[in-house]
Symmetry: C2
Subunit: 306 residues, 2 copies
Amino acid sequence: MTEFEYIHWLRGKTPSDPRVPVGPGDDCAVVAGASGEPWLVTTDMLLDGVHFVLEQTEPRRIGRKAMAVNLSDIAAMAGRPVAAVVSVGLPRQAPANLAEELFLGLREKADEFQTAIVGGDTNSWDGRLTLSVTLLGQTGPAGAILRSGAKAGDWLLVTGPLGGSILGKHLDFTPRVREGLLLSQMATLHAMIDISDGLAADANHLAEESGCGIVLKADAVPIAPAAYQLQDGQTPLEHALSDGEDFELLFALPPEHAQRLLELQPLAETTLTCVGECIEEKGLFLQEGQTRRALPALGFVHALGR
Amino acid sequence: MTEFEYIHWLRGKTPSDPRVPVGPGDDCAVVAGASGEPWLVTTDMLLDGVHFVLEQTEPRRIGRKAMAVNLSDIAAMAGRPVAAVVSVGLPRQAPANLAEELFLGLREKADEFQTAIVGGDTNSWDGRLTLSVTLLGQTGPAGAILRSGAKAGDWLLVTGPLGGSILGKHLDFTPRVREGLLLSQMATLHAMIDISDGLAADANHLAEESGCGIVLKADAVPIAPAAYQLQDGQTPLEHALSDGEDFELLFALPPEHAQRLLELQPLAETTLTCVGECIEEKGLFLQEGQTRRALPALGFVHALGR
């Protein structure tokens, strides 16, 4: 069973609940209390050897990443982060100050996005470093932007170049919180997701949730310099399509809104690029010149159990 | 640095924030959105070898415990649980169905307390089993009951017998959610905490947060049968005072309210017992017959780093 099969199985076992307008399967869940005010909730766990290598990484960067990956999920809903809780399992033989340095990294990223750290659970164990952050946020003026609203004809835009994040960006990226909020106020976003599994895999999530297909245009995908530096037999385009942890936003919107954003280029820190469009025919495709072929939804997938 | 020194350090680094009426250091934090509606937030991580032993425990019980320890924190605020997110790190060599069995255990406990599981993050790694649950709840009719409101003269009551939870209760307890809500409606609770670190340690937390002292009465502490079964040189009373993970509620209230609850015994599943009282003199004490002596705040404390 893979991560996605497991999520599918989980969703099948999750009854609908009036307090949960959006349940498992999107970047955040949406929970509403007695007042009806919606809250975004997301959680991400970082594990030594999977999301970072403790021996090779300053703990403060690990702390920053743990907060930033959650901020990116709030960004993907066009939300505002409010408060975080953090649980940590520290190796018993951890270097002095590991706990403090992790926290200072968490706080740096949290402060950058006006997020309070309101609680946590700190343990030591005979195991490797594990930390889990849960982030609460509020919806922006446009409400929660889901993965499921894309329509055939929509254009697909991305907030920055992709690929090669393993060379450093996966630890030191800026979550696109400000960008998600701004874009959702400047245009009608039909669907949005952050690119954590890879462009192809996340475009595929968006297509599946929206019940449409997606064509990515090979010559339009913005490729990060880091994707050219990797010398491992994959082309830079393959890296841009399949590398995980870029944490850029991928969003679908009507062509006229997309054109306006592409002309205005309203984001201070990055450039918007159109990478494809949504189509009626279900599936994920890559357009190379005149040729359109099915594209496997490559990306990082956790295998769970045997 | 111990867990508590670390929490103290964290609290010193946490600025006050109007969106966070109650920050780190209580059983839950309280977060308020634009509408002012308060939410309780708590997180607890369970680690193989610390909170359970995977090789000796059915995964479903581990799932139940992971949800129940968080429910107990909501109970300690006299709150109502609403929604949970779960992050898991599964050992790559995990037995088949570990993920499913954990989830079914989580769901059993969540269902028992009308709690939706709204999202999560599932990973596999070359490490031991780790799972972290974050629970959101709403405050009950009496508002959030904190650790910090106890006053000299208050009596201290506990919801059940203590000690020896390692023999099984630590995995299979019933979080006192219904009891916390009912008690907070029947009496004016000045302060409440769940007993996770041990009666002495948690009474000490309550005293420190409230700025008072506490006297526990040796002959009044209700001792669980399991505390008599442990043959390890500690007396049953010592187990009841220092064993962690009983997850009963300990609360402080005016004597006349306490007397009424003790007479009525309103809880269907357990018996209320008065175990001591709050005093002006700071510190934690044990009264044995005519003798009052200082009691070390024994209990399980995580040592963090070297």
